[in-house]
């Protein structure tokens, strides 16, 4: 009884404080915030959000713990399931991709931008090392001796990730 009363008081307070914050006629209230009516409401991800290490991000399918929402029938991830140099490059590229996508909706997040650029620099170095050892990633990559672009395996081959 007491708990129910407290809950209803809290709800009333949330509505009252939302009104104080200026939720006008065009806005409805969610607990604690004004929200516009007839418009989808998805909260912004906080700035400089917590992040996984690169290999853990590959295993989760996201760099951000807050967005790791697995299905009950999932198996334990097998990553890295590729040769170590390729896995390392994939994990770094994935972190770069996740940060880049985050920045499209958080362009003013300076911490993440600095991290993004530092990963991009690392990615450029990693790429050069990889190409030297395993062959071109792009058709225009210059490889010593011969045109190696056509060499098997291709990425979709069974051996493509060995």
């Amino acid at each position: 009884m007491e708990a129910a009363k407290r809950a209803s008081m809290q709800a009333a307070n949330a509505v009252a404080s939302a009104m104080d914050d200026g939720c006008g006629a065009g806005a409805g209230t969610l607990p604690g915030v004004c929200a516009s009516l007839a418009f989808p409401y998805i909260p912004m991800q906080e700035s400089d959000p917590p992040r996984y290490a690169q290999n853990d991000a590959m295993r989760a399918g996201t760099l951000f713990p807050g967005l790791n929402l697995p299905f009950h029938k999932e198996v334990r991830s097998r990553f890295p399931n590729a040769n170590p140099a390729l896995s390392e490059l994939m994990a770094l590229d994935f972190a770069i991709q996740e940060l880049g996508l985050y920045l499209t909706t958080h362009r003013d997040d300076r911490e993440v931008l600095d991290l993004y650029w530092s990963y991009v620099r690392l990615g450029k170095q990693g790429r050069e090392k990889y190409i030297e050892q395993y062959g071109p990633l792009c058709e225009t990559d210059i490889t010593p001796g011969s045109f190696r672009w056509l060499n098997d395996p291709w990425p979709w081959d069974l051996e493509g990730n060995d």
């Binding site: 007839a38 998805i42 097998r78 996508l101 291709w154 990730n161």
Partner: protein, 198 residues
Amino acid sequence: MFVYEKKLQYPVKIATPNPKLAAVIISQYGGSDGELGASMRYLSQRFSMPYPELKGLLTDIGTEELGHLEMVGAIIHQLTRDLSDEQIKTAGFDTYFVDRTAGVYPTSASGFPWSAASMAVKGDLIADLTEDLAAEQKARVTYDNILRLSDDPDVNDVIKFLRAREVVHFQRFGEGLRLAKERMNERNVYYLNPSFDS
């Protein structure tokens, strides 16, 4: 323009061929909520997007979906390699085999070929981004259903990754809508169509 990079976003290495499973997973290649439709939807919608964040969002996600299309194609290709005479008769795969052999063709599991009718470009940012939110959810459910149908750990490892991407994209589209709203008429977001009226 687009430039091809000779690697997958996430490794695909399937130890055991399984044509029956391939016949189910093909839906994420060319089904109504599959990766081909996803990439075409986003890469087409972006032309009429009025704000830079939205152009960037649709370009990034549409491009990533092309990478997912390649990964799903790699799964199908590896699940249908070195098939025996017995395996091509597998119920569920035989009807695919008669038309496509072991080629990878954009179709749904039920045999309906990929159709632009399964996606939309409305030329209105609220309508288009709301469609995108729903599209990410539908793709997520298809991956959930594949996880229910498949016991192959090599396949499920990749499906888990692809499914997680749908959740991240859903969040980003939602953020895109919020950013767009800040630029629209604050009293009535439907007062005009910012993708068309300037």
